[in-house]
Symmetry: C2
Subunit: 258 residues, 2 copies
DNA sequence: CTGAGTTTGTGCGATATGCGAACAAATATT
DNA sequence: AATATTTGTTCGCATATCGCACAAACTCAG
């Protein structure tokens, strides 16, 4: 975080505080204050003030020298989720669909160059999923069907910015990383109203469709499963009407609400 | 937020910034900067600096005069969820159980005088659930079976503090609000290893059991359903072995991990 | 148990940050 | 078009925040 670049009125203390919250994670469920300073590039005294402020506000707890985030931190994300009408509208519709199709369903939005899950309905799967799939989880947009749908909803200028910023790294031998091929895939998926991606970010297939409001694509709705466990192409074909129906129902309700 | 009471080293700017994030919610998905100032008691100039800092960091977006939280804010809660081993361990076990029992299952922790959901698996229900049930959602502890289980895991001193702080307001005619009766119910539930609550916070029944690690109760696992739609007591009896089995599986894994 | 190394807590002086007020500019409403 | 309301900007000021240095506490190896 380059303080010198901040604009006037930018609150550096606040920004530093948020950086400390972000420093917690799967690999660092707890941190000492020296670790917090190291991970954020702050001075130890500063990291200490931030952690003590979080402690006083109830967002962290202290266990000897270790600080851990407390459930109250979920209030911050909950502010967003509870304000997200597409999430509230989609949730029961996703639940109905998952019952029929027996695969987990996700709702995602674009955030920078990544997709971020804002809704999820789990389901029994033949092979156990990555246990870390949560609301808030992120994936590179280009490697997922959800991401391609969302990228397809960008204006040309925004799509150009995406390609300027995204680093198209192959995650599997099948990952499309050539920008022209990726643009073509995004356009094709946009035109045909769905995206199907097979083994570009792991050993999974996924299919996704757009969710729209009066202004355009606001989210993507998708289903993913492990490749090869079933007849993938036939399964995709059976899922598509379900997804399109669910997405249409969500989109229709969104247009009425706003 | 009474600035004058803050301890030395307490970072007021950071605390104010977090207050602005919390001001967003279901009823205020978007705010102007005057509204943000009004809702947080800050000056307009201050609220503006905070919102512009969040804008620059990518946590909010601006639409004319309106500011809205962006999905990136989920990163803050995700820091916590991804660090929460009980959540990761419980999720697949909950998914398996929900498939068998056909009712939604929740994992909750105690936070102040409330329970907060840290895990949830949805299911098809006969009657549509409150659409707003998300991770991060809170309920008064005393009115829920999850809450009674968690209160039962408190030390006597901590339980006394709970009773000092909690406001035991009747939410339905069945809500237990007499402190002595509530203490007795908590103890009974702790002793018998499950809690069953019927229509104390709405028209729902719920049953919950403890999840423990080496230090004691860390979470509660529960199932809830609308009262009267089925034979509630018989259903509870059929659910209990399922919940106990799932909770035992989670608890056993927790003990191995730490 | 001791000593060395590491980490945290504390106090203090300096100053950069954050603040609020006042007024200009822009927007919304009637 | 006029008025009311809200937002943007600038500036001076106060203090909140900062970093440093040293004390205190803790951890670890022998």
């Amino acid at each position: 975080m380059n303080d010198a670049d901040a604009s006037p009125g930018f609150l550096q203390s606040f920004a530093r505080g948020l950086a400390v919250i972000r420093a917690f994670g799967k690999n660092t469920p707890a941190m000492t204050l020296s670790q917090a300073a190291a991970r954020t590039g702050l001075t130890r005294a500063n990291a200490r003030r931030i952690l003590l402020t979080l402690l006083e506000l109830g967002y962290v707890e202290q266990d000897g020298r270790l600080f851990r985030l407390r459930p109250k931190i979920l209030d911050l994300g909950y502010s967003y989720l509870s304000s997200l009408s597409v999430g509230a509208i989609a949730q029961p519709i996703m639940e109905d669909m998952v019952l029929r199709v027996k695969e987990p369903c996700n709702l995602a939005m674009l955030d920078g160059t990544e997709v971020i899950y804002v809704g999820r309905v789990a389901a029994k799967q033949i092979v156990r999923d990555d246990l870390g799939i949560h609301i808030g989880r992120r994936f590179p947009a280009y490697t997922t069907s959800l991401g391609r749908i969302l990228l397809g909803g960008l204006s040309p200028a925004a799509l150009d910015r995406y390609f300027n910023e995204a680093q198209l790294v192959p995650l599997t031998p099948r990952t499309i990383t050539d920008p022209e091929k990726l643009r073509a895939a995004i356009k094709r998926d946009h035109d045909r109203g769905f995206s199907y991606v097979k083994q570009e970010s792991g050993e999974r297939c996924s299919i996704a469709v757009p969710v729209t409001d009066n202004n355009g694509i606001v989210a993507a709705l998708g289903i993913g499963w492990y490749a090869g466990v079933r007849a993938d192409d036939e399964f995709r074909d059976s899922l598509l009407p379900e997804l399109l129906g669910a997405a249409r129902e969500v989109s229709n309700t969104l247009r009425q609400v706003r």
